[in-house]
């Protein structure tokens, strides 16, 4: 079975990172991981997985609590540029984002570079989708969510 190179966004502690780690750790196929840590101060840089880590980056995510609008716009731009550079350098087969707002700038770069980007809504969202999930409906190559009450299109895992 060939190795798949996956760029994982939104790491650095918290629920999104836990969910992303659980997904990656559950995959029974060799993966090469490119990890993108984020958080108020770059986030916590730990990630436990049996898969090989081939790259690791530290980029502040937009839309963190406490950021002002102008700051968020600046970070958004920084993320688009960083996404272009990292996708071109690491050539992932797929970019995976769980819940994180970092998915939006990365989706812009991934679409231009023809790299698939998958967005999974956080399992904590049961009836009300996040703003990121609503935006990613039109940006992601694939959208996933768990609860069937969510007014989203994509793969509903509660029905799977």
């Amino acid at each position: 079975m060939s190795t798949v190179r996956v760029c994982v966004l939104g790491l650095g502690g918290g629920g999104f990172a836990w969910e992303a780690q659980k997904i990656v750790s559950s995959v029974r196929r060799p993966l090469e991981l490119v990890l993108v840590f984020s958080g108020p101060r770059g986030g916590l840089k730990y990630f436990f997985s049996d898969h090989q880590v081939v790259g690791s980056y530290d980029i502040r995510s937009p839309a963190l609590t406490g950021d002002r609008t102008l700051g968020q716009v600046r970070v958004l731009g920084e993320n688009v540029l960083a996404a272009f550079k990292i996708i071109r350098k690491e050539r992932p087969d797929v970019v995976l984002a769980v819940g994180t707002a970092q998915a939006i700038p990365w989706a812009l770069a991934a679409r231009v570079l023809h790299c698939p980007i998958w967005y999974a809504e956080s399992v904590t969202r049961v009836r009300t989708p996040s703003r990121t999930a609503r935006i990613m409906q039109s940006l992601a190559t694939r959208n996933y969510f768990f609860w069937r009450e969510l007014p989203l299109t994509g793969m509903c895992m509660e029905d799977a």
Partner: protein, 159 residues
């Protein structure tokens, strides 16, 4: 042992309620994780702010009291320790209520909606048998499956 965890974001109301319950003799053998920025310091319980390897405390505990965060909730369910969950209302985008209510419907957590009821809910839950470990991968099954069956195509990436 009852292990109480607030995760990375402080939840002083929960810590204070647990500490007061111990002071009144309603609960015993309580260990609190109060978060790196928790302000309320327990006077009647052992506590620590944050430590790596918190799963070991989940395993050692008879019951875990946790906030409604993903890592805590699914992490405890995966191990199979009794769990009483409390929503942290100070979280931005308060969706813990939705999440915990949904898990309660599935019979996976005891959701305590009022902190004043917490000692009663804990004592009742302690009377119940320990739950079996829950396969939390079910919450992510399609993503995992798609990664396992991902077919690499000749790259048409613009590089």
């Amino acid at each position: 042992m009852i292990f109480v965890t607030v995760g990375t974001i402080s939840f002083d109301d929960l810590v204070r309620h647990m500490d007061e319950a111990v002071s009144r003799g309603e609960l015993t053998d309580v260990l609190l994780q109060i978060g790196s920025n928790g302000i309320y310091i327990p006077k009647h319980c052992e506590y620590f702010r944050a430590r790596p390897g918190i799963d070991e405390y989940y395993r050692a505990a008879d019951l875990v009291v946790g906030h409604g965060g993903t890592g805590t909730t699914l992490g405890v369910l995966e191990i199979g320790t009794r769990l009483v969950s409390v929503r942290n209302p100070t979280m931005s985008a308060d969706h813990q209520d939705e999440f915990l209510s949904a898990l309660e419907r599935l019979g996976l957590v005891s959701y305590c909606r009022n902190l004043a009821d917490l000692p009663t809910v804990i004592r009742r839950r302690l009377q119940e048998p320990k739950p079996p470990p829950c396969d939390v991968t079910r919450f992510f099954c399609a993503v995992v499956s798609d990664l396992e069956h991902f077919e690499k195509k000749a790259s048409n990436m613009r590089m």
